[in-house]
């Protein structure tokens, strides 16, 4: 049974040192939630709202949709908290729910965009709000800022262009810093599958970014 973070791996891996699922830390709060303490769940929401929103955002690529998906995910988690057995950390379990919500949301968006069609003039939702595709400003700092945003948008688009299975492993490993073991837990796949998906996803991402970025790098 895969449980929590491998402490040896966490020491040797700098990425894993950044985020360490706090299964033991949340156990008492989760227990309170399971006894019907709504306020205890509020503590978990406060604690993980940003992390979960980022997972959703990197998966969906739309801030507003990501916020809604995260809300739904927390609500689903609250409904299902009684079934949570603590075999993995709460954040691991919660991330799995967010990913499910993100997948559903992506499916809905796909259906919607097919029906309505998307214009290039439509605003692009980013973490800083709606940004319209517009020409670069003459101002130098503004231009740099715009370029930075554009790069970020492009990277996000490249991530978004990945197949969902590859996107998930990239988001979980490269952005959220989960261990292979935890990713396996979240996605309910073997660690070897995680590694192979990750390798393939990195290759695709490298090629896509190389193509999109051109001579920028």
């Amino acid at each position: 049974m895969r449980k929590g973070t491998n402490p040896v791996a966490a020491v040797s891996n700098p990425v894993e040192n950044e985020i360490r699922p706090a299964g033991d830390v949340d156990r008492d709060i989760v227990a309170s939630c399971q006894k019907g303490d709504v306020q205890a769940f509020g503590v978990l929401v406060e604690k993980y709202q940003k992390k979960m929103l980022n997972v959703a955002y990197r998966m969906i690529g739309d801030y507003q949709e990501a916020c809604e998906a995260t809300q739904e995910a927390f609500l689903s988690a609250y409904r299902a908290i009684g079934k949570f057995r603590g075999e993995a950390a709460f954040s691991t379990w919660m991330t799995g729910i967010v990913l499910n919500q993100a997948r559903n949301r992506l499916q809905q968006m796909k259906t919607r965009s097919r029906r309505e069609g998307v214009s290039l003039d439509d605003p692009v939702e980013t973490e800083r709000g709606a940004v319209y595709r517009e020409a670069a400003s003459e101002d130098c700092s503004a231009a740099e800022e715009l370029e930075r945003k554009e790069t970020a948008r492009m990277v996000q688009e490249c991530i978004g262009a990945l197949e969902p299975d590859f996107r998930e492993v990239v988001v979980l490993r490269e952005i959220q810093g989960y261990s292979y073991e935890e990713i396996g837990d979240i996605l309910n796949v073997a660690e070897g599958t995680v590694k192979s998906r990750l390798f393939r996803a990195r290759e695709i991402l490298r090629d896509t970014l190389k193509r999109r970025m051109g001579g920028r790098g």
Partner: protein, 327 residues
């Protein structure tokens, strides 16, 4: 080492999860392979770009919004639970209250109904015109004071309490002591229709009728006397069954006083007098040995009906009930 193998190891090399040997192999290869070094730079740049992605912040009030939805969910859930168990919340206390209320009402009803049964007032009226029946009756003497007051409110009832038992008994209300034995109550009920018979010729006819049954009762008493030594309870029962005597005289009031005086002379106790108009009923307890003497003395006061002849009572005390009428 082949390039494709090295390039497969490059992401792991970047993450620093390769062994020292593998690390050394990859580093050696890259130092002499431009393609693999370029691929490594691309991986590193890709990772750099991804790593530069800024984290998004939740919108203001995001957690509150989530919690508002959670609380709404909780209310709904609570509402469903309440709907499911609402009847129980109401029904259980209601049923409990209803049970208690029924129990209280039942007790009250029992208390309200029980006293009239204990002191069947009709027997009080019976006592006056049916002197011969008294010998067969086994009534609780303590109930007697209440009877005239309840059943014959038109007749002024005046009770004189004489003797040691008087202080215990209340005149208007029956005592809280347990009612008479079942046998006594039954007999009272049986005698109830007779009790409504007015005095006079009809009463005389009824008296004749009852004489026949008196013989049976006499035999019953004899059997009781012949029986082995009665238990305490049986002795008590016998003690409270009065021997009835009817005395007809010109002046019942004066005769009553004399009767009381005679009872005291023969050592009578618990002497009580009930006045029904000008008629009187005197009850007392006395030594059965002195009963013949008392009866002789009573004959001197007026025309007296003979008490039922019976064997010598086994009880240490005998109750006597003397009813005095104007001739």
């Amino acid at each position: 080492m082949k390039c494709d193998l090295v390039q497969k190891m490059l992401p792991a090399f970047l993450e620093g999860v390769l062994s020292k040997t593998e690390n050394a192999l990859v580093e050696n290869h890259m130092s002499s392979c431009d393609a693999c070094r370029a691929a490594f730079e691309e991986y590193r740049y890709t990772r750099q770009l991804i790593g530069r992605l800024e984290e998004v912040e939740p919108p203001p009030g995001f957690a509150q919004k989530v919690m508002a939805r959670v609380e709404e969910e909780e209310r709904k859930r609570g509402g469903i639970l309440r709907k499911l168990f609402f009847p129980l919340y109401i029904k259980v206390p209601l049923q409990a209250v209803a049970v208690v209320a029924v129990a209280v009402l039942a007790i009250q009803a029992y208390r309200a109904v029980e006293p009239p049964k204990q002191t069947d007032p009709q027997t009080a009226i019976t006592a006056t015109p049916q002197p011969k029946e008294d010998s067969g009756k086994k009534e609780d003497r303590r109930d007697e004071p209440a009877r005239p007051a309840k059943m014959a409110p038109a007749i002024p009832v005046q009770e004189a309490r004489i003797g040691e038992g008087a202080a215990k008994d209340a005149p208007a209300s029956p005592p809280p002591a347990p009612g008479p034995p079942a046998e006594t109550r039954l007999r009272k009920k049986e005698s109830a229709p007779l009790s409504e018979t007015p005095a006079g010729p009809v009463a005389a006819r009824e008296a004749e009728k009852t004489e026949a049954s008196a013989a049976g009762k006499k035999a019953e008493m004899e059997m009781k006397a012949a029986a082995p030594a009665p238990s305490r309870e049986a002795a008590s029962l016998q003690r409270i069954a009065p021997i009835g005597v009817t005395l007809q005289t010109e002046d019942p009031a004066r005769a009553g006083e004399k009767v009381q005086s005679l009872l005291r002379e023969v050592g009578g106790s618990r002497i009580e007098v009930n006045r029904l108009g000008e008629n009187q009923i005197v009850t007392a307890e006395m030594d059965p040995e002195k009963l013949p003497l008392l009866l002789d003395l009573l004959r001197s006061l007026g025309q007296m009906s003979d008490p039922p002849r019976s064997a010598k009572p086994a009880a240490p005390l005998v109750s006597i009930r003397i009813e005095i009428f104007r001739r």
